[in-house]
Point group: C2
Chain length 352, copies 2
């Protein structure tokens, strides 16, 4: 007695939307509307890693050895573990309690679920680093509580996220813009730009042969981040496509100004907390690197860069460990080739 | 200048609670307070599987072959895929937007994140089954829309979950009880009992050599479910430990009555939709099996079973494929040995 109702099927497809779509009780992933989301879900799965797979013996030896590493190196590691312990939690909470809460299309929920799951894995990897090195987690936390530049960095995103953790009427343009801004702030400013100061520091140590296990985990984390940035960028672009009222000139300027603020906050943090010169880097180059990334994020969302003159990447070796180049052709190629290998060893440098 | 403040560390530990604890911005998993949560997180990871690992060639051949399987077999598969597509979505939404939203201890958030991730994998496995067999997903959905006994089953949990998707004051006993009831309903009644009617049907087919790929995926799913039931049971028990005002005689009777209602709903669904006899099972035994499971779930939470006389499992072969025995010693052994193998082949029948 049950027959397929083709009109119903087409109606269901039409009602698949980033927001304000049908809150289907059924996890109606098929037929796919947001192909990129399912493809990216598969890519993210193929990149799966677990902290226990990475040996920490060498890191433990170095941590205890007064000649192999110095206290500045240890400081950077603690700073990295402490910052990302907070940051991954903030990102995860925002995905689950802000973005996934309002997104209605099931394949978008699927990829957001994977995104949140990877924040879990990252948090677990930090626990693994802490317990391997025997660092008291509260010591890490205590390092943070009194540092204004870190508080500023966290408050910048947390205050935005908290404001959205309530029922909001997403038929109103201003509320849609608040959501779009949240997606931009988390994907492009926080994960996309503010994460890169500490990533750069830890990978500098890794390049010097220091803490190879931790460095490897951060390389895996970075590969994941490049997908997170892409998830949130595609989500923003599709939200804007479906809700063109969001994308006013004024709103675009607001996003650029927010990126500017995020970059300033990151630079203040770097100046205050990251002993760049002790790693043989110059502060100037390091800060320019942050500007460079910020501009790339803006451009990838169709926004004007902050710097009139196109910046060159001042730290090309970092680009080799981080995924930057792949994004340059975003608007030409859109996000079609997600093909990545499941093992880090067979991945192009381009992709990290 | 940063020193470890031991008092602060101890205070942070004390403020780790299931609910109403410190909403720490830091993902302060260490030092662990809820050891079971971290252990179970590791077990769940060790059980990781992906649908693409399971070959579907045989299933596809059978699906197309008019002699190998009959239309009742196909009906059961469609019913299974359709029901779980809805159910896994409902469970996932409830974990993320009700339970994880209010739980404050980070290791609990971690394991709930893994739980939600596994619902994602299960949903993805259903997509894989649908697309392998070439079933139109809307045909599956259409099968459901007019069936009262299925609507009753979904409404039973959805109405509870929706009522909690808002800010609630969790210092009030009645609201804590509403949360505790949600955790009981989802973990013990829905995932713990109502899932087992269709699980039983699909594993009956599997035992007859029908749809081996689908059967294998459901066996993996069941292994995951046994952990989900455990996560939610431990969560309930710790919530009650920390909030003894929840656990009144009246409330316990309410949970028993709700289980009774859940079982009646499941039995009505079985009578209406599951052609038990066509698989060589008797309806009576099949319904008793549901009673049997319901009582085990109640007992595992320290609640009196619904049936005065201890029921025997009428379908012992199903117990061999499903995890029931392990739970009998819950209160003696608490949840200490989570050790499981990562491959299904090396797992005791007890555990499935
Ligand atoms: Ca991330
Ligand atoms: Ca489940």
């Amino acid at each position: 007695t049950f027959v397929l109702d083709r009109d119903k099927a087409e109606e269901a497809y039409r009602q698949k939307l980033v927001i304000n779509g049908k809150e289907t009780m059924f996890f109606n992933i098929l037929p796919l509307k947001y192909q990129w989301a399912y493809d990216l879900y598969k890519t993210m799965k193929a990149n799966h890693w677990e902290p226990e797979d990475i040996p920490m013996q060498k890191d433990i030896e170095q941590w205890r050895d007064t000649t192999a590493v110095n206290d500045i190196d240890r400081w950077i590691i603690k700073m990295g573990i402490g910052y990302f312990s907070a940051a991954e939690g903030i990102v995860g909470d925002n995905i689950l309690h802000v973005v996934r809460e309002v997104v209605t299309a099931p394949e978008l929920k699927l990829v957001l679920g994977r995104h949140a799951h990877e924040e879990n894995i990252h948090a677990d990897s930090l626990v693994y680093m802490l317990s391997s090195l025997g660092i008291n987690p509260h010591e890490c936390e205590a390092m943070f509580e009194d540092v204004e530049t870190i508080k500023a960095k966290n408050n910048f995103v947390v205050s935005n996220s908290r404001a959205l953790r309530r029922d909001i009427d997403l038929t109103l343009t201003e509320n849609k813009q608040a959501l779009a801004k949240n997606i931009f702030m988390f994907g492009q400013i926080m994960e996309g730009t503010q994460f890169y100061g500490l990533f750069g520091m830890i990978l500098s140590l890794y390049r010097q042969g220091k803490f190879p296990g931790i460095g490897q985990m951060f390389r895996y984390t970075l590969r994941d981040e490049s997908n997170h940035i892409e998830v949130f960028r595609n989500l923003l672009m599709d939200l804007v496509d479906e809700n063109p009222d969001v994308w006013t000139e004024e709103f675009k300027e607001d996003l650029r100004a927010t990126m500017k603020e995020g970059i300033e906050i990151e630079k203040a943090f770097i100046r205050d907390c990251l002993p760049v010169d002790s790693l043989g880097l110059t502060l100037d180059e390091f800060l320019t690197y942050i500007d460079y990334i910020g501009d790339r994020r803006l451009e990838s969302c169709g926004l004007k860069p902050l710097n009139e003159n196109k910046l060159e990447n001042p730290l090309p070796w970092l680009a080799e460990m981080m995924d930057i180049k792949k994004e340059t052709n975003f608007f030409e190629g859109r996000v079609t080739e997600y093909r990545k290998a499941s093992s880090l060893d067979t991945v192009d440098d381009d992709e990290l």
